[in-house]
């Protein structure tokens, strides 16, 4: 129809050269936006393996039409080993181009997506996911805790590339003393699942391995497919050792991620989740040390204060006790003193009484008043009838005595 319009604008009468006409068509094709970066869906047919230059040619068709496609080397290289098969449905993006030498037009393919395969894989993914979920393999209760301080980490991944490099760097940076056991694993293609499973099984006998990192870099659903295989899922579920998965990019989810005990967004994140940061630990230790020191200091201070307290109380008690004792002593002394004075007074009184009595019996006081006392043979004479004339008597005076003989006795009647 476009060609019809071209004809209309041409001068009538003068014939085109074939090449002129062809270039005209070519220019028109290039000017038409709909033909550039066009997206076509169709079935692949007549696909030939890359030729000597690395280009791939095939035909895209549906039930009513077909179009030739050329995939040049640069694009074809991206699909090495996974080119669509004949009859497979694909979505192709490319630019329509005319090839003057053959007068044919073809689509120069920029990219190719295997619609049928993707769809198929996606369905398988969903089916397996539903099945394993129903079995409880994804249950949170099955998830084991990742040890905070593993002795040895087994890494199941490709031995080359960014993934293992990132993991090693992260571990060395955070905690250099942890042993890394790298199990070289095929993580893509037909042998992927088998390789992953055999390594996961092999680790189980290693008593020193505390955690497993199962990792792979980003890729298409096909690239990551082995992580969606049931055998891999069962091997992860059956692992004695906790498994951390880090497959594909952050947005990619595989069955392995669901079954794993922990899913990390990236290989670096997986390593960070498995390995404590030594500087953080150091800081925690420093904190703990300081806390311990402060606690101890506080404890000692506290005890010291208690001791001071006890000492003070003891002193006060002792002083009180001493005061009481002193008081008692003082009272005893006062009582004793009082008793003494009473006694002394009584003694003095007694002596005075005895003295008075004695003085009253002192004969010399009687003699002093002019009386005399008469004795016969040393015995006091109180009655005249005791005397007879001629007896020798002694009379006591105040200042002396006389001896005389009784001449006559006269009694008062």
């Amino acid at each position: 129809m476009g060609l019809g319009r071209i004809f209309v604008t041409m001068e009538v009468g003068k014939p085109f050269k074939v090449s002129e006409f062809t270039f005209l068509i070519q220019r028109k094709l290039q000017e038409e936006a709909a033909f550039q970066n066009a997206k076509l869906i169709g079935e692949v047919s007549n696909l030939r393996p890359p030729n000597a230059s690395g280009h791939v040619y095939f035909t895209l068709k549906d039930s009513q039409a077909q179009i030739s496609c050329a995939m040049f080397r640069q694009v074809a290289l991206k699909h090495t080993g996974k080119l669509p098969g004949n009859g497979e449905e694909v979505v192709v993006t490319g630019d329509l181009s005319l090839y003057p030498p053959q007068g044919s037009y073809q689509l120069i393919v920029r990219s190719l997506e295997r619609v049928g395969m993707e769809g198929l894989l996606h369905k398988r993914f969903l089916d397996l996911k539903a099945k394993l979920q129903a079995e409880g393999l994804f249950d949170t209760s099955r998830k084991r805790k990742i040890p905070s301080m593993p002795r040895c980490i087994a890494v199941v991944t490709s031995p080359t590339g960014a993934v293992i490099r990132d993991i090693i760097q992260t571990v060395r940076r955070r905690f250099p003393h942890i042993t890394l056991l790298v199990l070289p694993t095929v993580v893509q293609g037909a042998q992927g699942a088998e390789s992953i499973v055999s390594n996961l099984v092999a680790i189980q006998s290693r008593q020193d391995v505390d955690v497993v990192i199962l990792a792979r870099g980003g890729g298409s659903l096909e690239d990551l497919w082995c992580f969606n295989e049931e055998v891999v899922a069962r091997a992860i579920a059956g692992s004695r050792i906790p498994v951390v998965s880090a497959v594909g990019h952050e947005t990619d989810f595989t069955i392995a991620d669901f079954v794993a005990d922990l899913r990390a967004a990236t290989p670096t994140a997986a390593a960070e989740l498995c390995v404590p940061d030594v500087s953080v630990i150091q800081r925690e230790l420093d904190d703990a040390k300081l806390k311990l020191k402060r606690t101890l200091q506080f404890f000692v201070l506290n005890k010291r204060q208690q001791l001071d307290d006890y000492e003070y109380k003891l002193q006060v008690r002792f002083e009180n006790l001493m005061d009481v004792k002193r008081q008692v002593l003082k009272e005893s002394f006062n009582q004793m003193e009082h008793a003494f004075w009473t006694q002394l007074q009584r003694a003095r009184h007694d002596i005075s009484m005895l003295e008075a009595q004695m003085n009253s019996l002192d004969l010399r006081q009687v003699l002093d008043r002019g009386f005399t006392l008469t004795e016969l043979d040393g015995k006091r004479i109180t009655r005249l009838s005791d005397l007879e004339p001629g007896q020798q008597i002694t009379s006591h005076f105040s200042k002396g005595r006389i001896h005389s003989t009784v001449d006559d006795i006269q009694t008062h009647e």
Partner: protein
């Protein structure tokens, strides 16, 4: 009496004094004995008084000093 070795006994002296008195009160002593007893009584009284005086003095000393002693102890 025996004042040489044994410590002075107020009670013993008082008893002696009471004995002297009862002898003197009996009334049938000769004059010389009476005088002797009286003299002895006076001696005993004097001895007792001397003893009491010295006892009083020593206690007064003790009491006077004791206040200071207590004060000194409290100051420790």
């Amino acid at each position: 009496m025996s004042e040489s070795n044994q410590p002075f006994s107020l009670e013993a002296h008082m008893q002696e004094l009471r004995n002297i008195l009862s002898q003197m009160q009996s009334g049938n002593l000769d004059f010389d004995t009476n005088i002797k007893l009286f003299t002895r009584g006076a001696e005993v009284i004097e001895a007792c008084r001397t003893y009491l005086d010295s006892a009083e003095l020593s206690v007064k000393k003790l009491v006077g000093g004791s206040e200071a002693d207590f004060a000194e102890e409290e100051g420790r």
